[in-house]
């Protein structure tokens, strides 16, 4: 470390603490002074939104956990009690339940932002990989949480998802029994899912800390995908980005509140209002919307093992994106071809999601196969090939150049 800078804090207590444990300097460096490219747009607010969603989920989840009973005979009614008897229990539960959806929504946009502007490329590969890890942990958290209310959908989701592991040759059945702690989804399963659902969010917090630490080494990417060249290219995080993020958060919060207060069950399945019954499966069983594209991939493939591999592969392939894309240009703004294939990829993913909500019959299966082919083709063929053959458009000289050019133009009087 270099020599100590002059004291940053006037408050003597803060200074005393900071000289011994530089927490305040650290927060100041990372959340006040942090130089952010001046051209970042609102897509850059979704990381902050996701962070606050995580904290909100933990806060409401802790309150729910104080009322919830992880036992097959009591779980369902303890959730009903939260809805009817606990003070504001209905509010905490609807915030938590719909919060999972809002959290995934924010993270999907965050992830797509990274793809569109090439934020996963050198030097941010590890940052991206940590992000995909968070996404995986979120999926595990949401799945275990969905099991807790112990309705019909909870029970059958637990059964179907754990049974995915039975596709593993030789040891599959043993693994599934290990996950269940028995010969079917039952009390030991519910109990351990509750523990995991309680634990994983805190693991996510830890990975988010690493994610942000890895971000603050090279700094944020930006819509032009070019490097910061001078101080003129950046603005301090506070107040410029904090106020921008706050506005984004308010708009996001309004949408969230509309769902919580006016359509709290819109994203729910009515079957989950029926207590779990191990002897009968609901007629139409589908996962939560945020899992639908992967579910469609699973059903598109008529072989058990290959279907499960494709399902997990659909997520795992994101880990490899930094190494599949060889193009030196980050932002799709300057990639005239890749940009359209990427938009088509979004359409494809949404289409897969829609197909996932449909029954497993023709013509949906055929469509799901085509969409699955594009999904993997995009990563494994289009991305590597375009990285070599595409001719990118010329990049601007610097981030500030286009901004300051317009600003210094003499104003009409």
């Amino acid at each position: 470390m270099s020599k100590n800078p002059p004291p940053l804090f006037r408050n003597p207590v803060v200074r005393w603490l900071d000289e011994r444990l530089p927490l305040f300097s650290m927060l100041r460096k990372e959340y006040i002074d942090y130089p952010t490219p001046r051209n970042v747009n609102y897509f850059w607010s979704f990381g902050a939104i996701a962070t606050l969603m995580l904290l909100l989920m933990i806060a409401t989840g802790l309150m729910l956990a104080m009322q919830y009973t992880p036992h097959v005979d009591m779980a369902f009614s303890s959730v009903q009690r939260i809805m009817r008897d606990v003070n504001y229990g209905w509010l905490l539960r609807t915030i938590h339940m719909n919060g999972a959806s809002m959290f995934f929504f924010a993270v999907y946009i965050h992830l797509y932002r990274g793809m569109y502007y090439g934020s996963y490329k050198k030097p941010r590969e590890l940052l991206w990989i940590l992000g995909v890890l968070i996404f995986l942990l979120m999926m595990a958290t949401a799945f275990t949480g969905y099991v807790l209310p112990w309705g019909q959908m909870s029970y059958w989701a637990a059964t179907v998802i754990t049974n995915l592991f039975s596709a593993i040759p030789w040891i599959g059945e043993d693994i599934v029994q290990f996950l269940w702690g028995g010969f079917s989804v039952d009390n030991p399963t519910l109990n351990r899912f509750f523990v995991l659902h309680f634990l994983l969010p805190f693991v996510i917090v830890a990975v988010v800390v690493l994610h942000v630490a890895a971000l603050h080494v090279p700094g944020s990417n930006n819509p032009d995908g070019i490097e910061v060249k001078s101080k003129r290219d950046t603005l301090p995080f506070h107040p410029y980005i904090t106020s921008k993020d706050s506005l984004a958060l308010i708009v996001f919060g309004i949408g969230y509140a509309v769902i919580v207060f006016y359509a709290p069950n819109y994203l729910n399945h009515p079957d989950n209002a029926i207590p779990a019954n191990p002897l009968s499966t609901p007629e139409h069983i589908v996962p939560e919307w945020y899992f639908l594209p992967f579910y469609a991939i699973l059903r598109a493939i008529p072989n058990k093992l290959l279907g499960v591999i494709a399902l997990f592969g659909g997520v795992a392939i994101l880990f490899f994106l930094p190494f599949l894309d060889r193009s030196k240009v980050r932002s799709c703004r300057y990639r005239p071809l890749y940009r359209w294939f990427l938009w088509l990829f979004v359409v494809d993913a949404v289409f897969l999601g829609w197909l996932g909500s449909k029954p497993a019959e023709e013509p949906y299966i055929l469509w799901a196969r085509l969409a699955t082919a594009y999904y993997f083709g995009f990563f494994l063929v289009i991305t590597p090939v375009l990285g070599i053959v595409e001719r990118p458009r010329p990049l601007p000289v610097s981030i500030s150049e286009p901004v300051l050019k317009t600003a210094s133009r003499p104003r009409a009087s």
Binding site: Q67, R84, D85, S243
Partner: protein, 181 residues
């Protein structure tokens, strides 16, 4: 604006400070609006409050008998006092007690003394509900945890207990039935 002065990049500081404070206080109100439901969810829920009153039929009790009923998770002692016990409780020189209360203030019907069976020292359940149990020198209840003595009116007489045993809110709804809570 005079040509010599540099244009200010921001509005004057006072206005910014005001806006900053306004934004921060709006955030604080929002946080409080979320914190309140979260904290209130830990208060007793409706189903807990619904169990907060019970009815007890006293008609099967005999003179000298004590029963213990559960009210809000706590023991409530009911004792059908003999004439002698009533006399003793009423004759006590209550003004000199550490928590001065007359027996009349503590009963609705002098035959029945109804108290919460929790020692006012640190919360143990005193002995004295069984005929055979230790009642201490004052004939009421005796707390074994740290040696508090209560008399037949449930008043603290000796030992560390600072207060008399609490009389729960109750009413006679007919001659032989009380509703506690």
């Amino acid at each position: 604006m005079p040509a010599s002065s540099k244009p200010l990049p921001f509005p004057p500081a006072e206005r910014r400070d005001f806006l900053g404070l306004l934004a921060a206080s709006t955030g604080a109100v929002g946080a409080a609006a979320l914190a309140w439901p979260m904290l209130d969810s830990m208060n007793p829920a409706k189903d807990v409050l619904a169990l907060a009153s019970i009815e007890v039929d006293l008609s099967p009790m005999e003179v000298g008998q004590s029963i213990t009923v559960k009210w809000r998770g706590k023991p409530v002692f009911i004792r059908y006092r003999s004439e002698e016990e009533i006399q003793q409780a009423e004759r006590t020189d209550w003004q000199s007690l550490r928590d001065p209360q007359s027996d009349a203030e503590r009963v609705k019907n002098s035959a029945f003394i109804v108290v919460v069976g929790i020692c006012t020292h640190l919360g143990c359940v005193p002995l004295g509900q069984k005929d055979t149990s230790e009642r201490g020198a004052y004939g009421g209840w005796f707390c074994p945890c740290h040696g508090s003595y209560y008399d037949g009116s449930g008043r603290a007489r000796q030992g560390p207990a600072p207060k008399n045993l609490v009389v729960p809110p109750y009413d006679f709804i007919d001659d032989t039935t009380i509703r506690i809570g």
